[in-house]
């Protein structure tokens, strides 16, 4: 064990830790510690956001991070990322088929009727945002009754396993170009730095773990008029995607588990000169871990905008791969914003030296003129 040097700075940090912990437990004796189950289930959208921005699908660890960081999504996602840094990459997953998802919700705003039907599922889209005061003092009995009664009379056999994808229908109609058969090697943003220009897969991976608000703000600029994607949602689906991985011995694909994902495909208008062959609608794609619909939609719009920017050169910030991809990561942006709180004594001393010298010279010159 080495020699350890700690003085005032160390004491200050320990004091800060204690104060933070005191606030976490400030309810005192009347308080009940949050359970990870409660966070994972009752704050499921918060957990979703953290697994998505953390870029690591581990809802349990995400719940712990939310508890530890006292509800700060940026910090919680950051903790998941740092945890992932300690883990080696074991293999590269093959392409996963989102047509195999066990859906909890899927909608299309392009067609009234879609194969398999519109399934609203758990959404607050059409809920009135009126305060439900009955939740303020909810009894455990009432709480438990709700889930036991939901779909009580429905047997498993009545539920469909999967739903066909709307874009497949659009493809068979000739409205979208056929799927390209040659798959490019996927860019792994955890193993390679972004050196521009970057392939589309690098952009998609970066946006998939981007901070929701950052992604939304840039996508919104495109929606409002700094850009012209004008998307129609071909399909938005939320559900559990079976993760197929090669068996370590036989190499045969086996289902290793499932991850909750949100996937959004937007169709945008065709443009002249976009394709060599026949004219088709164009697609924007968004997907991320967890149930994060706004993020998936924003990502799909930006994917479409970036494809245009990569082809023609950007005419708006949302079409500029460098602008979008280097400014949407929550861990990067919040870290840098926070770092301004650290001591900058030396650089400020240096700044003062420049200002004083400039001021002295100005005074000198005024003296000469007078």
């Amino acid at each position: 064990m080495g020699y350890v040097a700690i003085k005032g700075g160390g004491r200050a940090i320990r004091g800060a830790e204690a104060a933070l912990e005191a606030l976490r437990t400030a309810e005192g004796e009347a308080g009940t510690p949050l359970t990870l189950d409660a966070i994972e289930n009752q704050l499921r959208l918060l957990t979703s956001r953290v697994v998505s921005e953390g870029g690591l699908y581990h809802p349990r660890l995400a719940a712990l991070a939310i508890k530890q960081m006292q509800g700060d999504t940026l910090e919680a996602a950051f903790a998941l990322r740092a945890y992932r840094s300690t883990k080696p990459r074991l293999l590269e997953a093959p392409l996963q088929n989102t047509g195999q998802m066990r859906l909890i919700r899927r909608i299309s705003s392009a067609f009234k009727d879609i194969p398999g039907g519109q399934m609203l599922g758990p959404t607050s889209d059409y809920a009135l945002r009126l305060m439900r005061l009955d939740l303020a003092d909810e009894s455990p009995a009432a709480f438990r009754k709700v889930s036991s009664q939901f779909m009580a009379g429905v047997s498993d056999s009545e539920l469909p396993d999967t739903f066909p994808k709307v874009v497949d229908a659009l493809r068979s109609e000739g409205l979208l170009p056929p799927l390209s058969l040659h798959h490019q090697h996927a860019f792994d943003i955890t193993r390679d730095p972004l050196v521009f220009p970057v392939p589309r897969s690098a952009a998609l991976a970066t946006m998939a773990r981007a901070e929701t608000g950052s992604l939304l703000a840039i996508a919104y600029s495109n929606m409002r008029g700094y850009g012209d994607v004008h998307p129609t949602i071909a399909e938005l689906r939320v559900g559990y995607l079976p993760v197929m991985l090669p068996h370590p011995v036989t190499g045969e694909p086996i289902e290793a588990g499932e991850v909750l994902v949100t996937e959004c495909e937007v169709v945008a208008m065709y443009e002249s000169g976009e394709q060599d062959g026949p004219t088709h609608f164009t697609l924007g794609y968004g997907a991320c871990f967890g149930h994060n619909e706004v993020k998936a939609i924003a990502m799909a719009i930006l994917d479409r905008a970036l494809q245009k920017g990569m082809r023609d050169g950007p005419s708006n910030p949302s079409e500029d791969p460098e602008f979008v991809l280097l400014h949407v990561d929550g861990v990067d942006s919040m870290g840098f914003a926070s770092h301004y709180k650290m001591p900058h004594y030396v650089t400020f001393q240096s700044d003062m030296d420049r200002l004083r010298t400039t001021q002295a010279k100005a005074t000198e010159q005024q003296g000469v003129q007078a």
């Binding site: 064990m1 080495g2 020699y3 350890v4 040097a5 700690i6 003085k7 005032g8 700075g9 160390g10 200050a12 940090i13 994972e40 581990h58 809802p59 349990r60 660890l61 950051f78 903790a79 990322r81 740092a82 992932r84 840094s85 300690t86 883990k87 080696p88 955890t190 193993r191 390679d192 730095p193 050196v195 521009f196 220009p197 588990g257 499932e258 909750l260 967890g290 460098e322 919040m334 870290g335 840098f336 914003a337 926070s338 770092h339 650290m342 001591p343 900058h344 004594y345 030396v346 650089t347 001393q349 240096s350 700044d351 003062m352 030296d353 420049r354 004083r356 010298t357 400039t358 010279k361």
Partner: protein, 300 residues
């Protein structure tokens, strides 16, 4: 969401140096490339560390990739070993590299990680200095696009940067760049030497120690290898100038604590508004105190 995800059992059992071995190998390969092309910003897949981006994660990854059980580490921030961020980084290395010694003495360290300062004590061939970098590219003040800056570096095109310096002189009769002073390495690439004061820039020139610069958030590593030319960008008729620590009378200010007249000083304002100056490098200050001052003169 679903119950199949268990918490890791071994929460505290991080491997030596926190990062997985593949990550460390990648960083070491990047370091070799950076040394081979002095001043070139070598991209690498920077990992997220358990402290904020901007708090020295680039420097920390260099340190963790290089450190071994025989190393003695010194960590400073603003020249001080006791600054909260230095304490935090040192504590993290102590936690994840159990056999490593830490020290506050510049001369005892084999590896020095620093933010904003180069130690006053001259470094030796046996030492490596790791500097934490917020902005790796000096061209960012004249060109926001990374792709375009890359081309400018490749072509050795620093004309817009020189124009900025020229315009400063026209407008203020002084170059206004206070720290992060653009410095040409080995006659080609111009680097951002990290937010060290201009006072420290001459130490990079023909340094005996290897100087590695790590930008975690911007995912770049670059190096000033030992015995390499490092020249701050200037004009023939406008010399490079370091911070001015002269009093109104023209005499060089001394550190109020140790009496040294040859160190970078922190300016401090007391409650009554009076000013005092002290060495920013705490180890140098202690060393000078031991050499110079009789006990009666010691103030703090």
């Amino acid at each position: 969401m679903n119950r199949h995800y268990e918490l890791p059992l071994d929460e505290a059992a991080y491997s030596f140096g926190f990062l997985d071995e593949f990550a460390k190998r990648e960083i070491r390969r990047t370091i070799l490339k950076a040394i081979s092309i002095p001043g070139y910003q070598t991209p690498y897949a920077s990992r997220e560390m358990p402290m904020g981006r901007g708090f020295g994660t680039g420097g920390l990854q260099l340190t963790l990739a290089l450190i071994g059980a025989n190393d003695t580490l010194k960590v400073i921030d603003q020249g001080s070993d006791d600054s909260v961020n230095a304490v935090n980084l040192r504590h993290f290395v102590e936690l994840t590299c159990p056999q490593v010694d830490t020290t506050e003495r510049t001369s005892e360290a084999t590896l020095i990680q620093s933010r904003h300062r180069i130690p006053e004590h001259p470094l030796s061939e046996q030492q490596i200095l790791v500097l934490q970098v917020p902005y790796p590219d000096p061209l960012v003040v004249v060109e926001p696009s990374e792709a375009r800056r890359k081309v400018m570096h490749g072509e050795g095109d620093y004309s817009r940067l020189l124009t900025k310096l020229y315009e400063d002189i026209v407008q203020f009769d002084e170059i206004t760049i206070s720290h992060r002073y653009p410095t040409r390495i080995n006659g080609h690439y111009v680097i951002d030497p990290s937010p060290i004061p201009r006072y420290d820039v001459p130490q990079l020139h023909q340094s005996k120690a290897l100087v590695l610069l790590g930008a975690g958030r911007e995912k770049k590593i670059y190096a000033v290898p030992p015995y390499t030319n490092a020249a701050p960008l200037v004009f023939d008729d406008v010399p490079f100038r370091i911070e001015d620590f002269r009093e109104a009378s023209g005499a060089r200010r001394a550190c109020d604590r140790c009496g040294a007249c040859d160190s970078f000083l922190d300016e401090m304002i007391a409650d009554d508004g009076s000013k005092s100056w002290q060495c920013s490098d705490s180890d140098y200050c202690n060393e000078q105190l031991a050499v110079n001052a009789s006990p009666a003169e010691v103030k703090a």
